[in-house]
């Protein structure tokens, strides 16, 4: 009998639209232009993540499906260039808490692969592992995940429809604040960023099952499956987990000649912050990315999920990044 992993809960998103695009890692023009349009349309972004390889940064962001018609008007020009891939009817499954366990990620992805449920991306917040897949497959995906994970007795997956008795709970209008209120900013140094690309089908292989089997922990996990079914993955780990994680990833990549040269390892800093009800406040991502651009920060990758924002920058750039962000963020006293 296989042991199941204990979860605190599962949340399912409403219907989302993904917008994916790529640009040179030296530029953030496409990203900032689109974020500006999203802010102008007063739209919030539940998830945004970026991975980088070979000088190209791959951005994937999503908005609520009901907001997309408004964005389509605001950003007509940007969305029609063909440089951005719009994927309708997507959704997310949020598993919490992840306790930074790499093994949870491995088991969940394995369960999805076995159930033949394609996943579009993965990202993590302070507490949660978020899997992006087709909206219509969310229930099947939960069923697959529950073959390897266990929920508390009194928990059923939380859905976006909120009810108070028979009445919908009041939801608030999205709002904008002149400065982004946050709980504080954290800079972690001496982390190893491992990035790799591989055909998504390799997720089913024997070597992959070993990822996280020695109870390795991650600090941040990001991944995107591109249109050509190539998966771009990124892991940030502390030094003590470096060797065992690298050994497994090299073994996975060695299984397929298409993975040759698709691996990178470097020391980085991670800047993180977290704020209340980010999901109801629009314009946050735009101000953050503009501040980084103005400060000349070379962003390697990022993950904005739920109410946390993680920014991966070069070794030694963490403090400077935090200073740039202090221009747009505030910790109320």
């Amino acid at each position: 009998m296989v042991d199941t992993l204990k979860l605190g809960g599962i949340k399912l998103s409403g219907e989302l639209v993904h917008i994916d695009f790529q640009e040179s890692a030296k530029s953030s023009e496409k990203l900032i232009t689109l974020l500006r349009r999203i802010t102008e349309a007063k739209i919030t972004i539940p998830h945004l993540h970026q991975v980088q390889s070979a000088g190209t940064i791959y951005t994937s962001l999503c908005i609520a499906a009901e907001d997309f018609p408004r964005l389509a008007v605001e950003a007509k020009e940007e969305l029609q260039t063909g440089e951005r891939r719009v994927i309708p009817s997507m959704g997310t499954i949020t598993l919490f808490p992840h306790r930074f366990a790499l093994g949870l990620y491995t088991r969940v992805i394995q369960a999805l692969i076995e159930a033949e449920i394609p996943f579009h991306g993965v990202s993590t917040s302070i507490s949660a592992l978020v899997i992006h897949c087709e909206y219509l497959l969310l229930d099947q995906a939960v069923e697959a995940i529950l073959t390897c994970c266990e929920l508390p007795d009194n928990h059923t997956p939380l859905r976006p429809v909120v009810l108070l008795g028979d009445q919908p709970v009041e939801t608030i209008a999205v709002y904008w604040e002149p400065k982004i209120r946050i709980y504080g900013m954290d800079v972690q140094q001496k982390l190893t960023r491992i990035s790799w690309q591989m055909p998504a089908e390799l997720y089913g292989n024997e070597e992959y099952r070993k990822l996280g089997s020695q109870e390795e922990k991650f600090r941040l996990l990001l991944g995107q499956t591109q249109e050509n079914s190539v998966f771009h993955g990124e892991l940030l780990i502390e030094d003590r987990w470096r060797k065992s994680t690298l050994r497994t990833i090299h073994a996975i990549l060695a299984c397929d000649s298409r993975c040759l040269g698709s691996f990178n390892e470097e020391e980085v800093d991670l800047v993180s912050f977290h704020g209340p009800h980010f999901q109801d406040r629009y314009g946050i991502a735009e101000r953050v990315f503009v501040a980084l651009q103005k400060g000349g920060i070379n962003l390697l990758s990022s993950g904005c999920t739920g109410t946390s924002v993680h920014l991966v920058v070069g070794k030694g750039d963490g403090s400077k990044t935090a200073e740039c962000l202090a221009e747009v963020c505030t910790v109320p006293s």
């Binding site: 919490f96 302070i126 608030i172 209008a173 709002y175 709980y183 977290h274 009800h277 946390s308 910790v331």
Partner: protein, 127 residues
């Protein structure tokens, strides 16, 4: 049996639940977690916490309703409730404001974004 006091943290923001829980554990409290009002009530019945850190705006049952139920119940009225109020008072289209929170029967109120050290002080003062 542990002599650590049990605190129940209730918020649908899972990241915040984790942050507060880590801080409470570092201060030697025992922590239980719930992610909406219905789940919280089940945990309260099972575990009888000494104090509840309770968000106001949550799915299924919000913090106002849960707080009122607890404070009107002979079994649970003595459990200390610290309410986390979230939405800026500048937003006129909601009842989930700090001022709104103050109209409830909660024992104490903390506006978000919370200062974790301040929250620990409030927890200790109320136990």
């Amino acid at each position: 049996m542990s002599d650590k006091k049990l605190i129940l943290v209730v918020d649908d923001d899972t990241d915040l639940v984790e942050m507060i829980s880590m801080k409470l554990e570092s201060e030697n409290f025992q922590v239980a977690k719930a992610y909406d009002g219905v789940e919280a009530f089940e945990k309260i019945k099972e575990e009888k916490p000494a104090l509840i850190i309770l968000d106001v705006m949550m799915p299924r049952k919000d913090g106002y309703v849960l707080c009122e139920e607890l404070k009107n119940s002979d079994d649970y009225k003595d459990i200390v409730v610290v309410l986390l109020t979230a939405v800026s008072d500048a937003v006129s289209s909601t009842n989930y404001t700090h001022m709104g929170g103050k109209t409830t029967l909660a024992d104490d109120y903390v506006p978000k974004p919370i200062d974790l050290d301040k929250l620990m002080e409030i927890v200790k003062d109320n136990l």
